[in-house]
Amino acid sequence: MSALTVLYALLFYSATAMLVGGVAYKSWVYARTPQPLKIPIPPAPTTRRGVVLRLLLEVTLFKSLFRANKWIWLFGWVFHVALLAVLLRHLRYFTEPVWAWVALIQPFGLYAGFAMLVGLAGLWARRFLVDRVRYISAPSDHLMLALIASIAASGLAMKYVAHTDIVAVKVFFLGLMAFDWQPLPADPLLLTHLALVATLMTIFPVSKLLHAPGVFFSPSLNQVDDARERRHTAGWSAQAGPAARAGGR
């Protein structure tokens, strides 16, 4: 077993732990923090079913963003959909035999790699070209784009520039999942690609990538507009005046 294999095996175990554990922890913090008042933002649904539909439209079609700015929507939506396709394409490295639908979408996943880069380039260009967006961009915002773009570029390079031994890669990852470590090919492009992916997974729960779980917990989006019909209390509003009064009666 090479030191390299051990290093990457440990890297992916820790990155996975950070991603899963970190996102689970943050979600738990969001879930347990009370929302004392009703603050839904219009157009606010008056039923739970309506809220589910609203969130669905937000996370699949980016409805509010579409309303706000067509360019950000275009680049952002293309990037996210492409990212999803690419992630699904990568399932083939973790399943044996490969599921039929994963095999079916392989070509789309490939185009998606380019679409991802286009989306990222558009978003990144805005950070330089639009003075308002330039003003609000911190170094971390540029680094995040650089990180994801490098992941996409290194991935595409392995397909179009210098092939790597993907069969061995698959054996490595299946081995990781079975806690039966197998050697990882020492291909520089592959090692770069994997190191960047592990970095992204690791910083996920301490970065703005928390928008992914966060959107589901956003009270302005997930509250039902029924303040008059159903009395809402939580946190301090459950202990303040009314409860004090009820105790005194």
């Binding site: 706000a68 609000i136 911190a138 928390l210």
Partner: protein
């Protein structure tokens, strides 16, 4: 007050280029110790305030899922950057919603997140310093908490929540805003924003009865503290004194009269406004709202109706049930609370009011959707009732009504520029510049459709437009109450 230029109204709205520091000089008067103490805040900046502020920030975040999510989730996409009327009117980049949030988010990151603790420069995290506090004071008082930006945010991040938290933190270390805090103190002590005692209120209402009698020949009552009345009307105290608000109050009284509904005002709860919302302090929010429950129980009323006031309706619609409910002592056949527009609209639909539209034939009317009604509440049973119901009332009272451009009304309405505790003369430059997007939309319907009257259902909007319309070369009499139009159109019969 330094001189400033009223922004020019172009042919079409433009997004200004970033002009750093353009409004850095704008800050409201700081509260004096006597304005602070009645609200439970320290009188002046306390020693060791940095630590206290940071601790308070942590507390607020741990008590609010909204803050918890909003401070983490922003990706700096830029969707909100051109949505704030104060940015559009000033070009100051700290008036872009995301930049305004970042004033507080940067401090939160520094003390409460891994990235900010260890890599502050990378993620734009900052220590809590005096210059940060000064920035907060300036720019969190350039936010009217109108929530327009949050309609466009893909995560629903609500800058109002962050601006309220920042003001609460500033109050907790002794740096309050004079305008809001002085007013809240008056409500605690006397029961309304104006500090109007019972005798003066009674006097005013008696005067109104005489005026209406003179104008119409009808005995329309303006009852105060009448036990056993069916309706307790909670209305902004500006309705008792200010123009054009008072025409609205006369309108409510005529509607009650025509429908034969017994009603009363309360001297104990003679204020619908609750400025505690603006300063984000829930103890004061609760305390001010509590007076209304006390008055309703004391007078034994069956219904709570709220007059034309934007943020008051947000507090009433969205928060009263939580803060001062349950309303099990009220008549369950009516929504609790009910907006005066809901009540009037219901009567119109049932044919219970006689309205003569020609009484308003001198007017071509448009309607300004107030931010807190539009984005903090609802009316009626259907989503969007807060937009359709006031318009239906206007249409029933006037022959000529037109709407302004769709992106400037409804849920994407522009704030008047004076909401959120900014309706004070020490912020007049901000108020004039912040009114730009609304003035632009108004100018278009004036030019193209001959509009000469803008109706609103918010006391702050009415006062703000009265002040800023002349800056844009319009008469301050252009702005009026929706129930002022009702008052003109309604045909009364003397009760037998």
């Amino acid at each position: 007050m330094a001189a400033f230029e009223t922004p020019a109204l172009g042919e079409y709205p433009i997004i200004p280029l970033v002009r750093e520091g353009a409004m850095a000089h704008s800050k409201p008067f700081v509260a004096k110790p006597e304005h602070q103490q009645g609200l439970g805040f320290p009188g002046a900046l306390v020693p060791d305030w940095e630590k206290i502020a940071v601790t308070k920030l942590g507390e607020l975040v741990s008590q609010s899922r909204a803050l918890q999510v909003f401070l983490d989730a922003c990706v700096k996409c830029g969707a909100c950057t051109d949505k704030c009327h104060y940015y559009l009117g000033t070009g100051d980049p700290k008036n872009m919603p995301v930049a305004r949030q970042d004033l507080l988010r940067s401090v939160y990151r520094r003390y409460y997140t891994f990235a900010g603790k260890h890599f502050p420069k990378l993620v734009g995290a900052r220590d809590m310093t005096k210059s940060v506090l000064d920035d907060w004071y300036s720019y969190y008082h350039q936010c009217s908490q109108c929530r327009r930006c949050s309609v466009f945010c893909p995560y629903g991040i609500d800058t109002a929540e962050i601006s309220m938290a920042a003001r609460d933190i500033m109050d907790s270390v002794g740096v309050g805003q004079k305008y809001s805090n002085e007013i809240i103190g008056k409500v605690h002590k006397i029961g309304n924003n104006l500090g109007l005692p019972e005798a003066a209120l009674r006097n005013t209402l008696d005067g109104l009865e005489e005026d209406v009698k003179e104008a119409t020949g009808v005995d329309v009552k303006f009852p105060l503290d009448e036990k056993g009345a069916e309706v307790l009307l909670i209305t902004p105290s500006a309705d008792f004194f200010a123009e054009p608000h008072i025409d609205g109050l006369i309108g409510y009284a005529k509607v009650f009269h025509a429908a034969g509904i017994s009603w009363t005002l309360s001297s104990h709860a003679s204020e619908a406004a609750n400025f505690s919302l603006f300063i984000g302090n829930h103890d004061n929010l609760q305390k001010v709202a509590e007076r209304i429950r006390e008055a309703a129980l004391e007078l034994g009323v069956k219904r709570l109706v709220v007059g034309e006031c934007g943020h008051a309706w947000r507090v009433a619609y969205s928060f009263w049930n939580t803060l001062i409910g349950p309303f099990d002592f009220l008549d369950p056949h009516y929504p609790a609370p009910q907006h005066i527009c809901e009540l009037t609209y219901d009567l119109i639909r049932r044919g219970a009011l006689t309205l003569d539209k020609s009484a308003n034939d001198d007017k071509v009317v448009t309607f300004h959707d107030s931010c807190n009604v539009s984005r903090g509440s609802r009316m009626g049973d259907e989503p969007g009732g807060q937009f359709t119901i006031p318009r239906e009332i206007i249409r029933a009272c006037v022959n000529k009504f037109v709407d302004m451009a769709p992106e400037t009304i409804g849920e994407t309405t522009f704030c008047c520029g004076g909401g959120g505790g900014l309706l004070t003369d020490d912020l007049v430059e901000l108020r004039v510049k912040g009114a730009l997007p609304r003035m632009q939309a108004l100018q278009r319907v004036i030019d193209e459709q001959g509009v000469n009257y803008m109706a609103a259902i918010c006391a702050i909007c009415k006062s703000q437009f009265t002040k800023v319309l002349p800056y844009y070369k319009h008469s301050m009499n252009m702005i009026g109450s929706v129930h002022g139009l009702v008052s003109n159109a309604i045909v009364l019969q003397q009760k037998q």
